[in-house]
């Protein structure tokens, strides 16, 4: 059983979990906007954006109290909310480091070398998938396709994508993040969007 499995296997009761949660005023305003999108008797539909707000407010993860708070906020049973929280890898039910490195391991990325990316991360950070470094800086996890297969292999760190990776680039990236340096997101080899690696092959005329 790999560590990723171990991580999602059991709901962990986290040691330093907060014992209460409430949306702050700023988020409460956002919650209002979100709720306005759904009919009143269907407000459970708002659970995903609300979880996202809660997760951000809690520093990147959803403690049990926040899950329950959102469930009660939307008038749904706790288990229904927990099902959602545990289904999506975007919700972290355990605390994560400052940088949450999510390596895509789905087929296109895997064929383009995501295993090597994982290895670099593990070696350099000294942790396995599903773990957090002791300094609390990095959490490493494997996720399913993030939708930029053309620029495979790729990772997501917090809200940003870093694509067109190779082991060297990955290693540099970790160093920069460790030293708190700015890294431009998106393609790490200067590719524009998903344009062909060899440069444009069509619409080559004109000023585009």
């Amino acid at each position: 059983m790999n560590t990723h499995a171990a991580e999602t296997m059991e709901k962990k009761f986290v040691q330093d979990a907060p014992n209460s949660f409430e949306f702050n005023n700023e988020n409460l305003k956002k919650v209002k906007t979100v709720l306005a999108r759904y009919p009143k008797d269907r407000k459970a539909s708002a659970i995903m954006p609300l979880f996202d707000l809660a997760q951000r407010q809690c520093g990147g993860w959803l403690p049990e109290v926040a899950i329950e708070y959102v469930a009660e906020y939307l008038g749904m049973p706790h288990i229904r909310a927990y099902e959602v929280a545990s289904f999506y890898t975007m919700y972290n039910t355990t605390p994560v480091g400052k940088y949450h490195i999510q390596v895509c391991g789905t087929t296109p990325c895997m064929l383009s070398g995501s295993d090597d990316i994982v290895r670099v991360c593990e070696d350099q950070l000294g942790i396995n998938l599903g773990e957090t470094t002791d300094d609390g800086l990095f959490t490493l996890s494997e996720v399913e396709c993030l939708g930029v297969c053309v620029n495979a292999p790729m990772i997501q760190v917090n809200d940003e994508y870093y694509t067109d990776l190779n082991p060297d680039i990955m290693s540099q990236l970790i160093k920069k993040l460790t030293n708190n340096q700015e890294v431009e997101p998106e393609s790490q080899i200067g590719r524009k969007g998903s344009a062909p690696l060899t440069g444009p092959t069509t619409l080559t005329k004109g000023n585009s």
């Binding site: 499995a5 999602t8 296997m9 049973p77 927990y82 099902e83």
Partner: protein, 698 residues
Amino acid sequence: MPKLTIDNIEIEVPEGTTVLQAAESIGKEIPVFCYHPRLSIAGNCRMCLVDVERSPKPVASCSMPVAEGMVVHTDNERAKKARNGVLEFLLINHPLDCPICDQGGECDLQDLSMAYGKDCSRYTDFNKRAVSEQYLGPLIKTAMTRCIHCTRCVRFSTEIAGISEMGATGRGEHMEIGTYITKAVASELSGNMIDICPVGALLSKPYSFRGRPWELSNTQSIDVMDAVGSAVRIGSRGREVMRILPRLNEQVNEEWIADKARFSYDGLKSQRLDRPYVRSKGGKLNEATWEEAFDVIAKKISKLDPSTLAALAGDQADCEAMVALMDLMEKLGSPHLDCRQDGSKLEAGPRASYTFNTSIAGIENADYCLIIGSNPRWEAPLINARIRKNYLATGLKVALLAPEVELGYPIDYLGNTPDTLDKILDGSHLVAKKLKAAKTPMLILGQGALSRSDGKAVWALCAEIAEKYGLIHDGKGTPGEHWNGFNILHTAASRVGGLDMGFVPGKNGLGTLDILKKAEDGGIALVYLLGADELDTSKLKDAFVIYQGHHGDKAAQVADVILPGAAYTEKSATYVNTEGRVQRVLQAVATPGEAKEDWKIVRALSEKLDLTLPYNTLDQVRARLVEVNPLFDERDMLQRSAWKSFGRKGKVKSAPFVPIVENYYMTDPISRNSPTMANCTREILGWGQPEGRSGTDG
């Protein structure tokens, strides 16, 4: 109505029918795991794949509605191959530990693997996943590694039981079924999840590793733990009841039973009375022979005036025993007998005045429900489940005038002041309007309201409400026919039968409460308790008490003579449920020791007293029952009883109703002696010291 062809048979079915239902209607069996006719459709196991012409892929028949001109093959090569594939997938992670699995022999996965499985798997490079166990309380044992994620249990608990505690967490390979926090599933219907789980993931904890289905002999019987009269199948081995499962009865319990019916049978094994006892001068109960016990009784009775003799029938007394005791009392010349040991004020008057007239299945046609002095969830879990079923189907509005409880559907809580009924009757209460507006309104009157000192007034008041607001009518309702929305919810399996035969005080006779009172001051010198335990036995200290029953429970402690009777699993006997449905329990196992069937005991005693009752066989007693009331001949049927006004008006007091069932898990001698029910009381209700969970189980 769309026409389609299934396996070359052309049929026409109503719009919205699924392919699976259409196929079943012409007798084609399609294998399923997740589909269950009483649950919502999930469509997640894919076992029901069929081949539909012009469809590029096989189709999940359980969730595919029929369409005009469809040509379906349920059993061709393509369908079979698709199912082979599904099964191979399901078995990738399944442990295949059938030899040590309690489900073995009655497992859908086992059966379908025989039908569709391959003899080996192509997925040999993978380690099977292991899933940690769930703790679901004292009734359900889990082996979650065997779970195939059909989500039947999740749908059962949310839809039928009305508790959202089970769920599926994680996804893909990491999906797991369980509860949110580790805790016992708090539903009185939880045991049914064991039945609907198609594999051995959810199992009966008390039955675990006790037996194999093919070793058990099955007896079709009726449950007597409440007055619903659920159909059950008693599985026994030798002299031991091994387990109790539900049997299908659409009219009563559909295919569910309540946890007390399913799990209290281990109470049949402890504290049993297996021989007669006689109390010595020194106050000690000594073993005796039947002869000696009868002698003591005969000697005592010969010295007493008939007007000082009394008989009380308990909640699980069967009709045969009651009619025999009733006849004996008549021969003895005493009018003091009662089958209402809780002091209920119901009378043996018109039948409609003491039965559940709407019928259990009829609840589904109600469009308004007023519950008075009752907690149906504890008094009759399956009636509560029907109410919920109606709520789910039509959004039934339910109002509750009783101690506040969580029933599993939204209620309009009216508080707990009985005089609210006056306001409903005079029309000044909001409920009056709702009752008037409803086409098929019903009210449920519980024993909590009827066993009070003003029970008679409450009863009469409710009858007036029923008459005034059209709860009883011919044909203004949706079903378009007779509607009677006046319902008495009984908690005692014996009660309706007792009232049907008139096991109530005769002319100048005393009822339960008076008998107890007189027993204290000497007016009553001898009390014959036919399994009557749930009464204030401290009042019986001075009387000579004969206890005939199966458990050394409350009443046996004050008894002077104990006559060992049979529990409901050990006799063939008649019970009438709260609807007035005459049903039979059948003998599954032998009585322990020298215990005898109850009517036989009374018959034998009558001979000793020189008052020999005129029946020698069970058939003759039953003929006597029919003679007393011809209704006893109409088995398993519902008799519509004509409505006649009844009851006496009186003042309803404002004192709040009190619950008649204080602890669902312990209501009678059997369940009070059941270790499993004791565990439920402790762990589910949280009464008493929480037991430390043992390391080996759960």
